[in-house]
């Protein structure tokens, strides 16, 4: 039987339903306005990203018409503002990599240990006090860390290594590591706390200790979140500017020795952007080429992070 047959009876019913569904103009308008606002908000972020990439690519394109790509990649000097100009990005990249490595050697072990302690060992009262303090550490302006590195950590290190120069990548890297700890610790801790209690109970019920449960069950179960925390830490290290500009010396120097001064991609951009370079000069264009390299570098890490999250995502 066809139940949608129209009879005198249900035509009245249908009338009533359509009365209630009738377009209410003001309600309709309000919906459309809100939709438009939401769309604009979403569009703005996409537009900004696209615009940044466009400008970086356009200006870098001009740069690469003057400087061959092979020079950019393989030259061992970075002297874009000298008469005898060289454009070897490796020089800045070495500073970035060295200082980031030092920072990560501090931040990843310490951040992970703090996260394990806070998530698995700390009593409730300790966690309630320690976590806000930890997150406060992440809110300190990086310029303060920079001066802390230059005026406190470097002199301290010079007592141990007397030949250490006043500006060096080591001190800047160490302090940068301290700055990154909260990001690594806080995100890792969130990931570990999200591991269901049932998994911990299963481990304890098997006779495991607290440490065994933390390291063998909770950390593996939280791998994807912890990996994301590390990737964020790496991105912060690679993109950090002020600490390196203040404490590492801004001297382009192809070295992987943290005891030497050096410039990073970011500190070079600060240095040049603060100077009075004529718009359109080749020195001005180097900012964009350096910026593009930085963006590609962080893009690579984000892709690695994305891949790791997908690979290690646990279904519990």
């Amino acid at each position: 039987m066809n139940s949608t047959v129209i009879t005198a009876e249900n035509i009245v019913l249908m009338q009533q339903v359509s009365d209630r569904l009738k377009k209410d103009f003001s309600r309709h308008l309000k919906e459309r306005v809100i939709e438009a606002i939401l769309f604009l908000a979403a569009f703005l972020s996409v537009f900004t990203t696209t615009a940044i990439v466009y400008i970086l690519l356009k200006e870098s394109w001009i740069f690469f018409q003057h400087v061959p790509l092979t020079d950019f990649l393989f030259d061992t000097q970075w002297t874009p503002l000298f008469d005898d100009a060289h454009y070897g990005i490796m020089v800045l990249l070495s500073g970035t990599i060295t200082s980031s490595m030092v920072a990560l050697l501090v931040a990843i072990p310490l951040g992970t240990i703090i996260a394990i302690y806070l998530s698995e060992f700390a009593p409730f009262s300790v966690r309630e006090i320690a976590k806000p303090f930890l997150e406060l550490l992440g809110g300190i302006p990086t310029i303060i860390y920079g001066y802390f590195a230059l005026l406190f950590v470097t002199p301290l290190l010079q007592k141990i290594f007397p030949e250490l120069p006043g500006f060096n990548l080591l001190s800047a890297g160490l302090v940068m590591g301290v700055m990154i700890i909260p990001y690594v610790a806080s995100l890792s801790e969130d990931a570990m706390r999200a591991v269901p209690m049932a998994l911990r109970e299963g481990s304890y019920a098997t006779g495991a200790t607290r440490l065994q449960t933390s390291l063998r069950v909770v950390v593996p179960a939280a791998t994807s979140g912890i990996a994301a925390a590390y990737i964020l830490g790496i991105s912060r290290a690679v993109g950090e500017t002020m600490i390196l500009a203040v404490a590492a010396g801004m001297q382009p120097n192809l070295t992987f020795n943290p005891a030497e001064p050096g410039a990073t991609i970011t500190s070079f951009i600060v240095q040049v952007a603060l100077g009075d370079l004529p718009h359109g000069s080749i020195g001005y264009q180097t900012i964009f080429a350096a910026g593009l390299s930085l963006m590609l570098l962080t893009l690579v890490f984000n892709l690695i992070g994305f891949y790791m999250r997908k690979k290690y995502r646990e279904a519990y």
């Binding site: 049932a198 299963g202 481990s203 304890y204 019920a205 098997t206 006779g207 063998r216 593996p220």
Partner: protein
């Protein structure tokens, strides 16, 4: 169903709760429970939700120690060495080395099938590959899972079906040769076929080990257990041989619950 070759008084005891009370903070969840657990027998705990049967079960492996504010009173005398499981002098880790547990929801670790079963051996410091290999295989065979997983021991435990996961968890808690196994509603998250296989497994396991099981399902208690305890609001109302409790309960409350007049 129940072996009645030995009279009850001569059956070896595995554990005995004596005046066991338990408190969540100020709330008393168990009130003076006295109950024997016989070795190589299945004892089931039945009763309405919130009656304290899971709370009681979790006293045996000191699971309550994991959360602050919990307190035990009384004792659980564990045979043959008469260890008081609840004594503060007894390390809960030692207790859990002897008493294993299977949970309501399968909770395989984020590890391979092999490593899930080997977990208990590894936390006990066993590192000899040959010993672990043998124990893992034996445990998986006892859990009736070996045939299904022997070719994929390196796959993640979470890739198995729900019933297989629960059997994996049973294998995990078997691999360490426990003296008493606790089951907290092990089939409540499973379909009828998986439930039947777990029930069959429990019946086979009792040849080796004492079993204490919480169940919501009275038919299940009747099918698999030798002894049944009926609990209500933290008290042990009746304990007896399963046939007697189900056919001819001594207490009116038990009869009301079993016949479905209440609960």
């Amino acid at each position: 169903m129940t072996e009645k070759t030995m009279p009850e008084t001569q059956l070896p005891l595995k554990a005995e709760a004596r005046n066991l009370s338990f408190f969540y903070g100020n709330f008393q969840a168990l009130k003076n429970v006295n109950m024997p657990i016989y070795d190589k027998r299945v004892t089931s705990l039945i009763g309405p939700s919130g009656c304290g049967k899971s709370t009681y079960l979790r006293c045996f492996n000191r699971m309550h120690d994991l959360y602050p504010g919990n307190r035990y009173e009384g004792a659980i005398d564990f045979h043959p060495d008469h260890t008081d499981l609840l004594s503060s002098k007894v390390d809960p880790i030692e207790v859990r080395m002897r008493i294993s547990m299977v949970f309501q929801k399968p909770n395989p670790f984020p590890k391979s099938i092999y490593e899930n079963v080997a977990y208990g051996l590894r936390v006990r410091g066993e590192s000899a590959r040959s010993v672990i290999d043998d124990k893992v295989e034996a445990a998986l065979r006892s859990a009736a899972l070996w045939g299904e997983v022997k070719d994929r021991l390196n796959e993640q435990g979470a890739n198995l079906s729900g019933g297989q996961q629960q059997r994996l968890c049973i294998a995990r808690s078997l691999a360490t040769d426990p003296e008493l196994m606790l089951f907290d509603e092990p089939t409540s998250a499973l379909d009828p076929i998986a439930t039947a296989s777990i029930e069959e497994l429990i019946t086979e396991l009792k040849e080796k080990v004492a079993i204490l099981i919480v169940t919501h399902n009275m038919q299940q208690a009747a099918r698999i257990s030798d002894y049944t305890a009926y609990m209500y609001i933290g008290e042990m109302v009746e304990f007896g041989e399963t046939d007697q409790v189900f056919i001819k309960p001594n207490k009116k409350e038990t009869e009301d619950y079993i016949t479905g007049r209440f609960g």
